[in-house]
C-alpha cells in the first residue's frame, strides 16, 4: 500500500434535496501523510465538513457517495458496520466545532472520557481512568481528578473543547479530524486550544485534517493547505509557500478579504459632522423633546450622539443553599460616541460588551449609571411604544445572527414597510420608493423586496437587517457582532457597505466585536473590556499598536496572522464557568 494515511480520490457526494439531488462534493482529491497536518479551508457551503464526514462515513440519510476513501490502507466506503465502528473508535478521532453540542450533558466528563476505552478497547475501568487523567494533563488540565466528576455545563467552552481533544487523544488515533474546533471560542481561548492540539499532534506523530474558514489559523498549524470551493479543492500549497505562491483567484480573494492587524488602513473621509459646520446644531435640526442642546456642545458642535457614564449591571443569581449571589456583568463603564464617529467595544465573551450595548438601547435595565443620547438623558425602565418609537428614530441596532434577527414570515418589503409605517408618514408610491432606496443603500435590488429570509443568503439577510435599522433614520447604529457570523468574503462586502453608509449618511457606529482586525478596519476609537471593566480606551491605532493593558496585549497576540504560532500561556487560570 501507499504511505498515505488518508487518501481521497474523486470523492463525490450527493444529498437529496427539494428539486432533485444536490451535488455537494464534486470529485475531491486529497491526501494526508502520516504525521502530516493538512488544512482544509473554505467558506460555508464549500463542502469541507461533508468531506470530513465522508472520511468516517457519518453522512446524512440518503447521501450517495462515490470515489475512494482510503484510511490507513482500508477502504472506508466498503467497510461493514462492525469494521466501521472499529475504525471510528481507533484509527480516527473527531473534534467538532461546538463541544457543548457533542458531549452528552447528562454524563460526567469522566464517563465521557473512559467510555470509548471501556466499551471499544475493553480496558478495565481503573486503567481507563488513569489514562484519562494523563490525557487531561497533556491538554493542560492539571486538576483532572476534580474534572472527572464534573458535568459539561460546569466547564467553560475552552476547557470543554480541551476535554474533547483529550478524548480524541485517548483513542490513540492515527488521524485527527478537527472540524472548526475553535470557531465557537474566544481568540485567546482559541490560541490555547490550538496550541494544545498542535503540540499533542506533533508529539504523538498523528496526522490531522484541520477544517477551518480561517486561512491564517490553518496556515499557522498545518503543513499543507487545501482551499475548497463549491465541492472541489481549487488549490493546494505547502503552508509556508501559500502566501507567495497562491495562484487561484479564490485563494487570493480569501487572503485579501480578511482585514489585517498590520496593513495600513485607508479610512473613508470623516463625515461632515466634525466641527466646521456652525449652521446646524444636531443633524436633524432639533434636539429631541424640544430641549435646546445644553452647554456641553462647545463651539456649535453637535453634542456627542452617545455618552455613557458609570453604567453598571449586576445580576442577582439565586443559588440553592447559598442564597442570592451577585454577578457583575458590567462594572461602571464610560463611553462617548461622537456624532458621526465610530467606536468599538472589544472583549472576549463574558466581558460585558453585549450587556453594555443592550443597556444603551434599553433592552437591559442598568443597575446604575446614565445613558445620554444627543445630550438628553434616557431614563431606564419599561417604555411606552411612543417612547420606544422616539428613541428608535435615533438609535438602532443590528444583531449578530442574520437568521433570527428577521421575522421568517415577512418579506423584505413587509419588514421595511412596517418600520417606515412607524417612523414616517410615507405611503403608497413614496413609501415603495423609499423601500427601494433603502435596498439600494445596502446593495440589494428591487428583486429582493418580495423574498422571505429563507431564500436569502446570510450576507443578504444581514443587509436587510441593516436596511431595516436605517429605515428609522437613526443617528447611531449599534452593531452587535454584526459581521461575526458571516463568511470572510461576505464579511468584507458588508464591512465596505458599513463604511460607505457611514460616509454617506453620517450615522455613528457603536461596534461591538471580538474581532480586532475588523475593528481596526471600521472604527476610529476603541474601548477594551475585560470581565465587565473597561481596561483601556483610545484611538484604534494607539490601542492596537501600543496597548497599555496586559489583557489588550493578550488579545492582540492571539490573533492569527502571517508567521503567527499558537502559544500556550501560563497554565491557565482554570476558570470554571458560572451559570
Amino acid at each position: 500500500m501507499s504511505e498515505e494515511l488518508l487518501r481521497l480520490r474523486d470523492l463525490r457526494l450527493t444529498l437529496p434535496a427539494r428539486g432533485g439531488p444536490r451535488e455537494i462534493l464534486r470529485g475531491v482529491d486529497l491526501t494526508v501523510g502520516p504525521g502530516e497536518a493538512v488544512g482544509l479551508v473554505g467558506e460555508s457551503g464549500s463542502g469541507k465538513s461533508m468531506t470530513v464526514r465522508a472520511v468516517t462515513r457519518l453522512l446524512p440519510a440518503g447521501a450517495r457517495v462515490s470515489g475512494e476513501v482510503r484510511l490507513a490502507g482500508r477502504d472506508v466506503l466498503a467497510l461493514d458496520d462492525a469494521g466501521l465502528r472499529r475504525l471510528r473508535g481507533t484509527s480516527v478521532a473527531l473534534v467538532f466545532q461546538d463541544p457543548r453540542a457533542h458531549v452528552n450533558p447528562v454524563h460526567t466528563v469522566g464517563d465521557f472520557l473512559v467510555e470509548n476505552a471501556v466499551r471499544v478497547a475493553r480496558l478495565p475501568r481503573d486503567e481507563a481512568v488513569t489514562r484519562a487523567l494523563a490525557a487531561l494533563r497533556d491538554v493542560g488540565i492539571d486538576d483532572g481528578q476534580r474534572r472527572l466528576h464534573q458535568y459539561p455545563h460546569e466547564l467553560s467552552g475552552g476547557l470543554l473543547q480541551r476535554v474533547t481533544i483529550a478524548a480524541a487523544l485517548l483513542q490513540g488515533p492515527d488521524l485527527v479530524l478537527a472540524d472548526e474546533p475553535t470557531t465557537a471560542l474566544d481568540v485567546t481561548t482559541q490560541e490555547e486550544v490550538m496550541a494544545v492540539l498542535d503540540e499533542q499532534r506533533r508529539e504523538r506523530g498523528m496526522g490531522m485534517l484541520f477544517i477551518s474558514h480561517d486561512l491564517d489559523l490553518a496556515d499557522a498549524v498545518c503543513d499543507r493547505i487545501a482551499v475548497m470551493k463549491d465541492g472541489e479543492v481549487v488549490e493546494e500549497q505547502p503552508a509556508d509557500r501559500l502566501r507567495a505562491a497562491a495562484s487561484h483567484p479564490y485563494t487570493v480573494m480569501l487572503m485579501r478579504a480578511r482585514p489585517s492587524l498590520t496593513e495600513p488602513v485607508r479610512r473613508a473621509p470623516r463625515p461632515a459632522a466634525d466641527g466646521q459646520a456652525p449652521d446646524g446644531q444636531a443633524p436633524d435640526g432639533q434636539a429631541p423633546d424640544g430641549q435646546a442642546p445644553d452647554g456641553r456642545a462647545p463651539e456649535g458642535r453637535p453634542p456627542d450622539v452617545l455618552r455613557v457614564r458609570g453604567l453598571r449591571k449586576v445580576y442577582r443569581v439565586r443559588r440553592p443553599a447559598r442564597g442570592a449571589e451577585e454577578l457583575v456583568a458590567v462594572e461602571g463603564a464610560d463611553l462617548v460616541v461622537p456624532d458621526g464617529g465610530s467606536v468599538a467595544v472589544v472583549g472576549t465573551s463574558g466581558s460585558g460588551k453585549t450587556t453594555l450595548a443592550h443597556m444603551v438601547v434599553g433592552l437591559v435595565r442598568p443597575t446604575a449609571g446614565t445613558v445620554e443620547v444627543q445630550g438628553v438623558e434616557w431614563s431606564a425602565g419599561r417604555l411606552s411604544a411612543r417612547e420606544r418609537r422616539r428613541r428608535g428614530g435615533v438609535v438602532q441596532m443590528v444583531f449578530q445572527d442574520p437568521y433570527s434577527s428577521l421575522d421568517r414570515r415577512q418579506t423584505v418589503r413587509q419588514c421595511l414597510v412596517e418600520v417606515l409605517a412607524v417612523h414616517t408618514a410615507l405611503a403608497g408610491a413614496a413609501r415603495e420608493a423609499r423601500v427601494l432606496e433603502l435596498l439600494e443603500q445596502v446593495g440589494l435590488g428591487a428583486e429582493h423586496a418580495g423574498q422571505r429570509p429563507r431564500s436569502l443568503s446570510g450576507g443578504q439577510r444581514q443587509r436587510v437587517a441593516i436596511a431595516r435599522a436605517l429605515a428609522a433614520g437613526p443617528r447611531l447604529l449599534i452593531l452587535d457582532e454584526a459581521v461575526a457570523a458571516l463568511d470572510v468574503s461576505i464579511q468584507a462586502q458588508v464591512l465596505r457597505l458599513l463604511e460607505r453608509i457611514r460616509a454617506e449618511l453620517g450615522v455613528a457606529y457603536l461596534f461591538i466585536s471580538h474581532d480586532l482586525p475588523v475593528v481596526r478596519r471600521v472604527c476610529e476609537q476603541v474601548v477594551v473590556m475585560d470581565r465587565g471593566r473597561v481596561v483601556e480606551s483610545g484611538p484604534v491605532e494607539q490601542v492596537l499598536e501600543r496597548p497599555a493593558a496586559a489583557y489588550t496585549r493578550d488579545l492582540i497576540a492571539s490573533v492569527p496572522r502571517e508567521g503567527w504560532r499558537p502559544r500556550r500561556r501560563a497554565r491557565s487560570r482554570s476558570v470554571v464557568s458560572t451559570v
Binding site: 450517495r64 477502504d75 411604544a385 445572527d401
Partner: protein
C-alpha cells in the same frame, strides 16, 4: 467503485415506502373528516328520516333499503341519527378547543412576554387547573349545574387550558427572545402588534397542531360524558348518547346502534390524530398530548 455503502442503500429502500403509506393514510383521514363535517352541515338534506321519529313496529330492524344502517330499539333510523348527531358531537369539541386555545394562548403569551410575576401567576393558575382531570371537572360541573350540553363544554374548556398554555408558553418564550423581536421593540412597534403580527403567526403551526389534537381529546371526553348520561340527554342523537342508549340492545342481539356510534367516534378521533401528526411533521413541531 461507485457503489453506495450497504446501510445507506437499505435505508433508501425503506424510507419512501413508509412515507407513501402514511401519506395515503393521511389522505384517507382527511377525506373521512371532510365526510363527517359535511354530514354535520348537510344532515337535514342527507338524512333519509327524521332522527327522532319513533316507529316501534320497526324496532331493531336490520339494515335495509329504507334503513341503510338499521334502526334502534325505538325504531329510529340509525343513519339519520348519526348524521344529526355529528352536529352536537362536533360543535362541542369545537367550542372546547376555541375557548381553551383562546385562554391558554393568552396566558402563555402574557407569561412568556412579561416574565417575572406575571409568568409565575400564570404558571400557578395552570398548575392548579392541571391537577383536575378534565373528565372529573366535567362530572362535577354537570352535577352542580345540571346535565346538558353547556356544563361539560365549559368544564372541558377550562380543563384543557393547561396543556395549551404550557406548550405554547415554551414556544412563545423561545420566539420572544429571538433578536427580531428585540429589533421590533427597538423600532417602537407596539406590543399588541408584535403579538398579533409576529408572535402568533410564527406560532401558528404549533397552534393548528394543538387544536387538532385537542379536538380529538375533547370529542372522546364529551362522548364519555354523554355516555355517562351527564351530557346531552335523550332523545338527542349525540354519538355518546347513542352508544349509551344502544347498550341495552346489545345483549338482545342488536348491537348496531352502540357499534355504529362508537365506530364513528373512533374513526373521527383517529383521523384527527393522524392529520395532526402529519401537520406536526410538516411544521416541524411536536404535538403534545395530554
Amino acid at each position: 467503485m461507485t457503489a453506495a455503502s450497504p446501510p445507506l442503500a437499505r435505508r433508501r429502500l425503506l424510507v419512501p415506502a413508509r412515507l407513501s403509506a402514511s401519506r395515503a393514510l393521511v389522505a384517507v383521514a382527511v377525506a373521512l373528516l371532510a365526510v363527517v363535517a359535511a354530514a354535520a352541515v348537510l344532515a337535514p338534506v342527507l338524512a333519509p328520516h327524521d332522527p327522532t321519529a319513533v316507529d316501534l313496529l320497526a324496532a331493531n330492524a336490520p339494515a335495509s333499503a329504507t334503513h341503510p344502517l338499521g334502526t334502534d330499539q325505538n325504531g329510529r333510523d340509525i343513519l339519520s341519527r348519526l348524521l344529526f348527531g355529528a352536529r352536537s358531537s362536533l360543535v362541542g369539541p369545537a367550542i372546547v378547543v376555541a375557548a381553551s386555545m383562546a385562554l391558554g394562548v393568552l396566558l402563555a403569551l402574557a407569561g412568556a412576554w412579561y416574565g417575572g410575576w406575571v409568568d409565575a401567576a400564570a404558571a400557578r393558575v395552570v398548575d392548579v387547573v392541571f391537577a383536575f382531570p378534565g373528565l372529573v371537572l366535567a362530572i362535577v360541573a354537570a352535577t352542580m349545574f345540571g346535565t346538558g350540553f353547556v356544563a361539560p363544554v365549559v368544564a372541558l374548556s377550562v380543563a384543557y387550558v393547561p396543556v395549551i398554555a404550557r406548550v405554547v408558553r415554551a414556544a412563545a418564550l423561545h420566539e420572544r427572545h429571538l433578536p427580531y423581536v428585540a429589533a421590533l421593540r427597538l423600532q417602537g412597534v407596539s406590543t399588541p402588534r408584535i403579538w398579533l403580527r409576529h408572535l402568533l403567526p410564527n406560532l401558528s403551526g404549533l397552534l393548528v397542531v394543538q387544536a387538532g389534537v385537542g379536538f380529538g381529546y375533547a370529542m372522546l371526553d364529551l362522548a364519555a360524558i354523554a355516555y355517562l348520561g351527564l351530557g346531552p340527554q335523550p332523545p338527542s342523537s349525540d354519538w355518546g348518547v347513542m352508544v349509551a342508549e344502544g347498550q341495552s340492545s346489545i345483549l338482545e342481539g342488536f348491537p348496531q346502534q352502540s357499534l355504529y356510534g362508537s365506530l364513528v367516534v373512533l374513526a373521527t378521533v383517529v383521523s384527527l390524530n393522524l392529520v395532526s401528526g402529519a401537520l406536526a411533521d410538516r411544521f416541524g413541531v411536536a404535538a403534545v398530548t395530554q
